[in-house]
Point group: D2
């Protein structure tokens, strides 16, 4: 961490600041220049509050050099984390193919989709029971009944299940769900993250539409600070000025996260682009860029889906995708 | 709402679609062109699900012409809504000056700030008891004790109080709070919005960093659909590529919201820019652009604030601001 | 194209508008609704000026349904365009591997890089002679001498050359250059585009940092409207709020462009991310997503490059990349 | 400038780097920490190439502390620059009200608009002769004839004129124009900027849609490095995800620029929002935020304007605006 001071600070105030820092066990190096005086902070500055420093009269700017996350930081945990969920594993060379409908709609629908994606090679089943919708007038999901149908599909196919939670009060309903998903809009719902940190169950956190990679890792840190180390990160598109696609899949986030953190990262091309016709190229792009998994929407009858139909692949399209995914994995992660 | 069809749709499928729409009471006008066939939907299409239509095989694109919000829409409620909170009013010509510290820290701090901002002309007192923080290692607020201190300050000064809720389970604690604030990160926490819709108490919704004005109005719609019509909107900066300011205050949102909706809109320049030195020009800019109020951070000792010190005005700076605000209001809202 | 009218327009003004449109040979369909009256325009509306219509008193909004580009539009030219440059070809199944240093620095440098990238399988050589630099104090390129060195390298290796032009006055210097590159900052330098439209020589247009895919295609249209049909498009990253990478490679632009247009599209991962460590995953991602080519910076001594060293691959790294590219092409374009 | 080094750098390489820097007259302070070693550079680092340093094997990151612009920097020139153009002045307390049509269309049009805006209090006349248009099929301006008409209007009204140049070859045509405008799309047309630096005539530079304030100041630096100190900066909206307005007026840029630089800054609300109905509130907002001037589109017959009609004020609307502007100036710049 580096502090740059304003012009012409009284020496006494500088001494006051450096003394206060040193009493917290932080090493301090002062460099005086003609145009700028800077203080370098050496040691563990994770808990130093940037805002407090910037509030001081003599401080111009505070720059973090080391990252503010610790548990999620590859610097302190060089080896890849492998998250286990049901029989599936993800990270450290294990690839997860998570597929299923946007919303669970009926027993017939979820069972058919589950069987089809399993046959094609999926390793986990996704399905929404509680749906965050921009409009209060849109379909909001089947709720608890949806979770029950997912459990039924798991029983039939053996696929571990992933479903989205919307707030902490729903936690008891998720007791049997294999991976709890935190949606993009909840990525900074810190109370929810803190509660998930108390569990011992994998959590998949989707990056918010306007959140940086650093903030995504800080959200993982919230869960991990509570003792739950089983975190999967998910890139699902960020908001930009481009309008041909719903959002912009930030494929660079994949190698960036893999460098900064030991946690597994998956891509969700379906929500990123919002159109089935672009899902396959984006999915393959994410795999080639090093993703540890994919999360893809598949529906047996997209035209009649109650939610996000336009972005769902048919089971036939998914068959084609899985074959190409397998072959690209052979090239990039032999 | 307008539907554009793909090339060469079978007439039978078009008839099927138009028939289905007409049975829902929606008027349909079909226009066939050489390159494009379009269907215009006439009537109340608020409840028509855009996604469902786009999922149909023959549909290329669906365009909403009328806005998807209804209760918040000025088209259906031409007169300005006036929200009353304690003795204060906002909207329809009533200007609200909401001021106070980022976090409530101690009885001395909140009482002193409350007295100072009241003397300067503030009409409401703000203060955070529950703080959403990006890092789990940062100060998270005093919680219930913070709310109690706000109530004490209200008793002392008579100022109605505004404070941020983080999830529905905290609702009982907010029984005596005059205005419940939904933070930017919670703008699309739909469960929370729905629960606030069941209350009969003003709600101030901050625009999310990556949310459009339309989405902000849809979030108001969530609250209003539950019967709670007392909604205040707040522009507090959006995320862009510019880094000199923390976020970019979208001042255009003020006239846009005032055109689209009858709800009052306030601006929060403090969070938008993140630096006290820019707060006054941005606050004056927002007032000149037609805002119904301001939400400004004021701290009696910014350099020692436990949170967001760098963006807080001193009481003296706030005195200067309120005088200029008053004079600009005379120009733009005589 | 669809025109929505304001409430309560006098019938006479509507008749005036529809009559004026019909006299231009455009079909008109009027739909009157309770809340909204819309006019659908049918026929070739490429030359209808959206701004003029929106300026009319009775018009609320004008929405383009068909794309405003014509020569670049796949709808009117379903087959892929194959651009030939020197012996190389790109598009329609032909993949271009364009590699070389950011700037041409010396005969030794450009010859060594050219030999190395050719041996690894590059099909074209890139190198900057005129460099657009944000700071007037930075190295601005060797100018004409740089172009001469590129021609020398072409003579030695047989690789066709690609180099960036900065304004029309430089055109005579580019007479022997195989592909003229228009940089991201010049994507909407319309005078330059118009002059390039008069040439009969391939033009590679880089997408601007804040330009939509539609604007990129409109810039291609400028060149093509002049009669020059040999246009290659290049996705090189857009500007977003994320700061770990210099820009955000918009990989979705690849399938979107391939759907909308028949022109070949390449990706430049080097400028997109600005860091050599991310170039390989992004390059592979772009190929898997369907790019017709790659443009990659390679330098024999990145640490001493005069420009953009941090994002250049070494020749050894490039060897590894080309092998993986070849194998991914076998999966996605067999 | 601060350099952070990678873990475990050999001391010899560090010595090599610090020695090299010192030989360039730059002071060096080395701070070794447990997790991080940093080098602080003290002195004039304007000409140190960040890219070169980042290309070194041992360097992790380079952070600029002082700004890379010098001539435009308030630190080195604390007093406001006052730019004189014809009889008008801008900066240092002088407010410029620049008004006129988007395009010059005819003698009648430009003369009438010039007379009307002069009567309302405008201090300069704007008008486009060369128009950058996204589509090659749109109206491109009257060219030289347009400039002649502007000169005629100046003769009639005495108003100095501002018009946009599109490339250096047009410079001779601008010999009699009072202020040469560089459009947003040309903000980083470095050759053009360099040529304008050789002139002794005011230059108004519009911020690009995706350009940071720092880049805008670097573009001013290009002009000033050539010896032309008469630069006016213009905020005209940046590109964001919001679609209700064409662009997002970044009002914060006004106080930010005034802090960083001594150059005058104006706002162009017309291009920022693209809709006449929002121009007045945004104009007033910009003035209240401290702008040194406004650039506003006014047309005597917006509905029949050949370009950007929807965003033009009528002369009557402009009359109302100027009165409010005057009164707000009295509040913020008494």
């Amino acid at each position: 961490m580096i502090i740059t001071l304003k012009d012409k600070c009284p020496q006494q105030q500088i001494d006051h600041l450096t003394g206060w820092l040193e009493r917290q066990g932080i090493g301090v190096h002062l460099s005086r220049g003609k145009f700028q005086t800077i203080i370098g902070l050496i040691g563990d500055v994770t808990r130093v509050d940037k805002d407090t420093l910037e509030g001081l009269d003599i401080v111009e700017r505070v720059i973090r050099i080391s990252e503010p996350f610790k548990s999620a930081n590859r610097k302190f945990h060089p080896d890849d984390t492998v998250v286990g969920a049901g029989g599936a594993r993800i990270g450290g060379g294990h690839f997860a193919l998570i597929a299923g409908p946007c919303s669970v709609e009926s027993p017939e629908q979820i069972l058919e989709v589950a069987r089809r994606v399993k046959a094609a090679g999926a390793t986990m089943l996704r399905g929404g029971a509680f749906k965050p919708r921009t409009s209060p007038y849109d379909f909001q999901g089947l709720g608890k009944e949806g979770l029950d149908l997912l459990l039924l599909a798991r029983q039939e196919t053996g696929l571990p299940i992933v479903s989205e939670i919307m707030n902490s009060s729903q936690l008891p309903l998720f007791a049997d769900v294999d991976v709890i998903q935190v949606g993009a809009r909840n990525m900074q719902n810190f109370d929810l993250l803190r509660d998930l940190g108390k569990m011992r169950k994998p959590v998949l956190i989707k990056r918010g539409l306007a959140n940086t990679v650093k903030e995504l890792l800080m959200s993982a840190e919230y869960v991990m600070a509570g003792g739950n180390k089983e975190v999967i990160l998910c890139e699902r598109g960020i908001r930009t000025f481009e309008t041909y696609t719903r959002n912009t899949l930030d494929i660079s986030a994949i190698p960036v996260i893999k460098e900064l953190s030991h946690l597994p990262v998956v891509a969700d091309p379906s929500h990123a682009c919002g159109a089935a016709k672009y899902v396959v190229p984006l999915a393959l792009g994410a795999v080639a860029a090093g993703a540890d998994g994919l999360m893809v929407e598949v529906h047996n009858n997209p035209a009649n889906a109650r939610c996000d139909g336009p972005q769902s692949l048919t089971p036939e399209q998914f068959d084609g995708l899985t074959d190409q995914v397998r072959r690209i994995r052979e090239v990039v992660a032999p």
